[in-house]
């Protein structure tokens, strides 16, 4: 049976002075075996002390963003054989404090998400039935609402690493999802938060977020959309 090596970042603040890497041999027991299956294999058969997050195991809950050989991805929808090679260095998402092993502190991600007022803001009245929204207007939300808040994008962004106040691509694509919604009337409340050197202007169009997004969304385009909206409002 084909075997591969997972070289995993380990750190338990209760007992380790500093992090270290531990190698595990993983059997690829079926074609198309997923990285998460490999991690579970280690946890269930070799070392029960390994900690990582996982839940839905199908790429929608966003729990298991990890850095594999330097690239952020979700372990549950990444097939080992698709990555090429037999040696995988598995690390927690970069740019976020490590709690234990592969588990990072995501509070900053959520705090910034909340900062952009990620909900429909409505000032005029609400109809008795649903809001009418044309299929064309609804289509503007495609490529935005599918975000699963896994943090793979922000964690891959040098501006997010460097500027602790930067909202980051994850929060900004959420802001654009609501700014793009024909039912929303919250632009005046949301834009001042975004029009800041720690807001959309901190993005240097490095495109790491686009490459990292496991749902193939485009946060950079969302940031550009917000910038254009800001310019249109000013001039």
């Amino acid at each position: 049976m084909e075997k591969v090596t997972f070289e995993i970042f380990r750190y338990d603040p209760d007992k380790d002075k500093k992090p270290y890497y531990q190698k595990f041999s993983v059997e690829v027991r079926e074609p198309g075996m997923l990285l998460l299956t490999g991690l579970n294999q280690i946890k269930w058969e070799q070392d029960t002390t390994l900690s990582f997050r996982r839940s839905c195991r199908e790429g929608v809950c966003g729990s298991d963003g990890l850095n594999i050989n330097g690239v952020n991805m979700l372990s549950c929808i990444t097939r080992i054989n698709d990555l090429g090679g037999k040696h995988f260095v598995i690390q927690p998402l970069p740019g976020m404090p490590v709690i234990k092993d592969l588990v990072v502190d995501v509070e900053d991600l959520y705090t910034k998400f909340i900062t952009v007022k990620p909900y429909l803001i409505r000032k005029s009245s609400v109809p008795d039935i649903e809001f009418y929204q044309s299929p064309e207007d609804r289509k503007k939300l495609d490529g935005l609402y599918e975000c699963i808040l896994c943090g793979c994008c922000s964690s891959s962004c040098p501006s997010y690493w460097f500027d602790k106040k930067y909202l980051g691509p994850s929060a900004l694509i959420r802001a654009w999802r609501y700014l793009s919604d024909s039912r929303d009337e919250g632009a005046d409340e949301r834009l001042p938060v975004l029009n800041d050197k720690h807001g959309v202007w901190r993005c240097h169009t490095i495109y790491n977020c686009v490459k990292a997004c496991p749902k193939e969304l485009n946060p950079t385009q969302a940031i550009t959309g917000i910038r254009k909206m800001l310019m249109d409002k000013q001039f």
């Binding site: 209760d14 900690s51 990582f52 839940s55 929608v60 429909l120 699963i148």
Partner: protein
């Protein structure tokens, strides 16, 4: 593990942050101080995986009304659902779905801009005549869009979240529920939440079966905690197996594939559902389709070299329709089976999916003491969503789960807030938290031999083989014996990790402890029900027995650790309309 316990006081505490918990939270937070405790961040809850839609008789695409929806729900549940609850659910649906839309949920639209609707299994017009477009949807990511919307709404209402807090004990004092003991998974600290009212919204326990469509987190923690606190699990034996799990994995392929025109083929290339359900064919309810698929496989008409699965064909609706309405399915089938469903059919098998039963509740979501004929409500205690029971009976219809979340989330949120405003907090007695602490200490220091995977595999395999889609007395007795052995192994358990920080070894120990209780009760209840009804099908008792069987099983955990079953009659009188009496369930 520290013995210091930090205390928090809230009006309403909600355990679980899926659709039900978050809808309860966004409502209760408008009136009173509300906290949500959950073992994952809210947007990681399993509602995120719901795909196909949420049922409401909006009539946007063709004529529909809530009474037809109610009929389908009662019949779909094989006449085991409480009909007052079925009426409440279906009558409330249009208003609740519109409320979600007003919050910003990005529903697909009709040409006129209304919420688009698609057909779904068991949903019909005119009391069973033909399939009806009743499922409101967001592509095949309806649960994802709903959970996000409700999370964001509760954020805007100022709900306090305690994420990655694992609940250990539901605290009761003098018959009232008044708190929850938890520990913070991130640092191991203990927290006692003292509350005027508690809402359980902890979801299901589908992980107890080996092939399942559930997330790692669906381990029945809420059910187990409620049983340990002395309350009732209603109808545990009715576990839904979804027909279309991905072959070899169990992950869900939504029924919306069939709603959009897909159909099932056996190994001979035959569209076999036409034989079993001539009127609505592949859109028969899930229990029926799962059984028919299993029959086809057992009788040698399965697909593939081992004739062990069924094919789900959708390519004929065309690439554009697939990419617009079922993009997530296209992606899942590619990732898990290497099948491009635009070109070829997806290999599928029935997969454990949904706990039809749950904590015994009345039609408003008040938890009731249960037992023989009792509808007495428990002060300050509510349950909503998959962990609760009253509407779905012996088999839930597709898209009624997301409806259950929003209807019972809202209702329990309102009731709990009202209760909290009108009542004083009940002081905790000196034993509060003792059971939870004992459980935690026992497992955190477990120094025996067996680990999670050995016990989990033993339990989940026997549940799958012997308490699955087709059951009989001999197999279930075998399962009960295997489960006893698994529980004996649990007495000699080992947790190697001694860390106070994100100790997943300890979390899995707590989860397997809960799953062993849950699986034991499912198997006991299944063996005791000597008839076939909805998702509970026995070869040795193939017929429904309305004289003896139209009863809710009531399961209890006794203080000495034994379990006990009792029965409570189904409420057959709706709120305002005549009863739907039991009829043969043909489609």
């Amino acid at each position: 593990m520290s013995v210091k316990i930090e205390k928090h006081t809230y009006d309403v505490v909600i355990v679980g942050a899926g659709g039900a918990g978050l809808n309860a939270a966004q409502v209760a937070s408008q009136y009173v101080k509300t906290a949500v405790i959950a073992k994952v961040y809210p947007n990681r809850s399993h509602t995120i995986s719901a795909q196909g839609g949420v049922a409401a008789s909006l009539g946007n695409e063709e004529p529909d009304n809530w009474h037809w929806h109610m009929f389908d729900t009662v019949k779909g549940g094989d006449y085991l659902g409480d009909q007052d609850a079925c009426e409440f659910l279906c009558r409330s649906a249009p208003e609740m779905v519109r409320e979600l839309e007003h919050m910003g949920m990005p529903f697909n639209r009709t040409k006129e801009g209304k919420i688009a609707q698609r057909p779904f299994g068991g949903h019909t017009s005119n009391y069973g005549q033909k399939p009806v477009r009743r499922a409101c949807y967001v592509a095949d990511r309806t649960g994802h869009a709903m959970l996000q919307t409700l999370f964001e709404k509760s954020v805007s209402q100022g709900t306090q979240f305690y994420s990655e807090f694992y609940a250990l004990e539901l605290v009761t004092t003098k018959g009232a529920v008044n708190g929850v003991l938890c520990f913070d998974m991130k640092d191991g600290s203990l927290h006692m939440f003292h509350a005027k009212a508690v809402i359980m919204a902890t979801g299901g326990s589908g992980r107890v079966f080996m092939t399942n469509a559930n997330a790692h987190i669906n381990t029945g923690d809420g059910i187990a905690m409620t049983l340990r606190a002395g309350f009732t699990w209603s109808d545990p034996e009715f576990f839904q197996f979804h027909p279309t799990g991905i072959y070899g994995h169990g992950n869900l392929i939504t029924e919306a594939v069939r709603g959009e025109g897909g159909y099932l083929l056996n190994g001979n290339g035959e569209r076999f559902m036409e034989r079993y359900a001539p009127t609505i064919k592949d859109l028969a309810p899930r229990d029926i389709v799962s059984r028919c698929m299993t029959r086809e496989i057992i009788e040698g008409r399965g697909a593939g070299p081992n004739k062990d699965h069924i094919k789900l064909k959708i390519d004929h609706i065309g690439a554009a329709a697939i990419m617009e309405k079922l993009p997530g399915i296209h992606e899942l089938a590619l990732t898990f089976t290497n099948v491009d469903c635009i070109k070829e059919p997806i290999p599928v098998i029935p997969t454990s999916h949904y706990q039809n039963g749950g904590i015994a509740t009345n039609y408003l979501g008040n938890v009731i003491t249960g037992g023989k004929g009792s509808y007495e409500t428990v002060p300050g205690f509510y349950a909503a969503g998959e962990c609760s029971a009253s509407v779905h009976g012996a088999n839930r219809l597709g898209t009624n789960s997301l409806l259950d979340l929003i209807v019972y989330g809202r209702t329990t949120g309102e009731l709990a807030a009202k209760y909290a405003k009108e009542n004083n907090i009940v002081d905790m007695d000196e034993n509060a938290g003792k059971t939870g602490l004992e459980l935690l200490n026992r497992l955190a220091n477990a120094n025996g031999k067996h680990t999670f995977s050995e016990i989990y595999n033993k339990m989940a395999v026997t549940m799958h083989q012997n308490v699955g889609v087709l059951r009989n007395g001999n197999n279930m007795e075998k399962a009960i014996k295997d489960l006893k052995e698994a529980r004996d192994m649990m007495k000699d358990y080992r947790v190697t990790d001694r860390s106070s920080v994100y100790n997943l070894d300890l979390i899995e120990a707590l989860e397997i402890e809960n799953m062993l209780l849950v699986s034991r009760i499912i198997a006991d209840a299944a063996l005791s029900r000597k008839e076939s009804r909805g998702s509970h099908y026995r070869d040795d008792y193939p017929d429904r027995d309305d004289a003896n069987g139209q009863n809710h099983t009531q399961a209890f955990l006794e203080p000495d650790g034994s379990t006990r079953l009792d029965y409570r009659s189904v409420r057959t009188t709706p709120l305002t309309v005549p009863t739907f009496p039991p009829k043969a369930r043909v489609y």
